[in-house]
């Protein structure tokens, strides 16, 4: 649409039912959605594993040529949908694609946040539970240093029920279930309050508080010096060097050899991709509440930059260097998100002066990072239920609470080895978001039209979007995403499919995903008919369906 839209075009527009209170509000809400456990726990592990400082070259290339352009595309599509009063992925995809198929493909924009929420809220409750354990002093790893790792693992298993199914619901109700119920209720309370009074207001306080907690822990880590004089090599400078010095992935090679390894580039792009929350269906939903002339270019860039700040400047300086200082190379080489976050770091805080307080700050910060993300996962579905079924916010929130609550209880019950959680994360939290991002990029660049998209981006823009964006979004991004999907199927599909066949819990987890998918497809069919009837006799109709 051009700036000089004709009156008839203006008549097509519909005022959205909700709005953001301020521009800063939406930037912090989008950044809050993106900043999560991956920034503090996944990124450092990926960097240390893939060449340290050398990893940052492909990392920044991926940010500039892949992450930010796809984010902009999502912001533009969302605002475009909001112009016609649509806020959910199915409606916006149908609007931009002018075909029922796109409406049904938009189901991914609902399925992904709903299913991820089912297990993410549980991890979020672990963070709060750990924070409380530090505050109340109930986390005890013993006095025998040789058993710290074992005790830390046992504490995690007992808290999460990772060593047997049904532990958390057997007999008396497990304390972690109580924490889960509190966190679950808090999420829905904030969602019920609405976009501006709930999500935006919470993120406006939570984001600065999260930064404050992270800075406090960062200062503590950077001032550790050499805690054990008998081990002079284990100091902060060497810890930072372990994390950041360019290094070869294989012994005997120069550091720049890592740049010739395709795996390094894929790992960097994957980290950017997951970190920015691309392909979650959240940015589209959030951007749909903007006004037609609101800027999306600077806002999108600022939200991405905020996410990068938390990831590179805070996440990159805290976890691995701290683990190195107290536990050496072996401790700093732990890269799994749960292992690093919930098993290794408690040992680090045990050694650290003031560790109980900083342990509390750290896990409370992770809780804030998680809740600002989980809130964003609920809004797309609430928006869909409201606009698709024409039911009120109370009914939408109640229905969503029932579905996600049952799903979350499923994950809680089948906690042994975290199989249910891992299966949902593999198929939805990893595979489905790449599929949705591919669908979005193809829709934006090839169906809606990259030229139209580029012109739409200029409306209200406070930054000039580079022309290179068109080439990147039309050719580079789809090609990259298709390569990633292809490689996933070649490298992972057989193993993942076998795991589903052989493990009953994994099979049940796939059934849960399919049940939610079918339920949502039925709702989209009902909503589609409603939208068609509603718009048939109005000026919006021909333009949309």
């Amino acid at each position: 649409m051009s700036n000089n839209a004709s009156p008839s075009e203006h008549q097509l527009f519909k005022q959205p039912s909700e709005n953001w209170g301020s521009r800063l509000g939406i930037i912090l809400a989008v950044a809050g959605s993106a900043v999560g456990l991956g920034n503090f726990l996944r990124f450092p592990g990926q960097a240390a594993q893939n060449g340290g400082g050398a990893f940052m070259i492909p990392y920044f290339c991926a940010l500039i040529f892949l992450g930010i352009p796809i984010c902009w595309a999502e912001w533009i599509m969302g605002r475009q949908g909001g112009r016609f009063g649509f806020n959910s992925c199915p409606a916006i995809f149908g609007l931009l694609g002018r075909n029922k198929i796109w409406r049904y493909l938009g189901v991914l924009g609902l399925l992904i946040p709903i299913v991820i929420y089912m297990y993410y809220v549980l991890i979020e409750s672990w963070c709060l539970g750990y924070a409380w354990s530090y505050l109340s002093g109930t986390i005890d790893l013993g006095t025998d240093a040789s058993k710290y790792a074992e005790n830390s693992g046992n504490f995690f298993n007992n808290f999460t029920g990772a060593n047997m199914d049904g532990l958390m619901l057997k007999g008396k109700i497990h304390v972690s279930v109580i924490v889960w119920a509190l966190v679950f209720a808090l999420n829905f309370f904030l969602i019920y309050r609405g976009l501006s009074k709930g999500i935006e207001k919470f993120c406006t306080y939570a984001m600065p508080l999260m930064a404050l907690c992270a800075f406090a822990v960062l200062i503590r880590v950077l001032t550790l010096g050499t805690p054990d004089p008998s081990k002079p090599g284990l100091n902060v400078i060497n810890g930072l060097g372990f994390m950041w010095n360019p290094q070869a992935k294989d012994a005997g090679q120069p550091w720049y050899a890592a740049l010739g390894n395709a795996q390094t580039w894929l790992a960097a792009a994957g980290q950017i991709f997951f970190s920015l929350s691309v392909g979650f269906g959240v940015i589209i939903n959030y951007a749909s509440y903007l006004k037609p002339k609101d800027d999306v270019v600077l806002s999108g860039l600022t939200a991405s930059a905020t996410n990068e700040f938390f990831e590179v400047c805070l996440g990159g300086l805290i976890t691995i260097p701290a683990a190195f200082v107290f536990l050496g190379v072996a401790g700093a080489s732990v890269t799994g998100t749960f292992d690093l976050g919930f098993k290794t770091l408690p040992i680090v805080f045990l050694h650290m002066p003031g560790g109980r307080f900083f342990g509390f700050l750290w896990f409370f910060m992770l809780f804030l990072a998680a809740i600002t993300s989980s809130l964003s996962m609920l809004q797309p579905a609430v928006a869909f239920l409201e606009e698709g079924l024409n039911i009120g916010r109370k009914a939408s929130v109640a229905l969503l609470g029932l579905v996600t609550g049952l799903g979350s209880l499923f994950v809680i019950y089948f906690s042994n080895g975290l199989t249910a959680l891992g299966t949902l994360d593999d198929w939805v939290g990893t595979l489905a978001i790449v599929i949705l991002a591919t669908v979005q990029v193809i829709l934006f660049a090839w169906v809606f039209g990259v030229d139209r998209g580029y012109e739409a981006a200029k409306e209200g823009a406070e930054l000039r979007i580079p022309r290179l964006f068109k080439f990147v979004i039309k050719y580079v991004a789809p090609l990259y995403l298709l390569v990633v999907l292809f490689m996933w199927f070649v490298n992972n599909f057989r193993d993942k499919a076998r795991a589903v066949q052989e493990n009953q819990v994994a099979f049940l987890s796939i059934c849960v995903i399919l049940a939610v998918l079918v339920f949502l497809l039925i709702l989209i069919a009902i909503a589609g008919k409603r939208w068609q009837v509603e718009t048939r006799d109005t000026s919006r109709g021909p333009a949309i369906w």
Binding site: N19, W20, G21, S22, R23, L24, I27, G53, M56, F60, S196, L240, M243, W244, L290, K291, D294, D295, L298, S299, L301, T302, A305, T306, E308, F309, V312, C313, G316, L317, E462, L463
Partner: protein
């Protein structure tokens, strides 16, 4: 390390400077204000 952190700090500083340097933009209220001016029906 310094290059990466410097780049990100520069980017976020630039972005927030642009966002906050326009008070009307930072404090821009998008939601319609519920003020009845009572001049529409007269």
């Amino acid at each position: 390390m310094l290059g990466s952190i410097g780049a990100v700090v520069s980017l976020i500083t630039f972005c927030f400077y642009r966002v906050l340097s326009k008070p009307s933009a930072a404090e821009h209220m998008h939601a319609p204000l519920d003020i009845d001016t009572k001049d529409l029906n007269t």
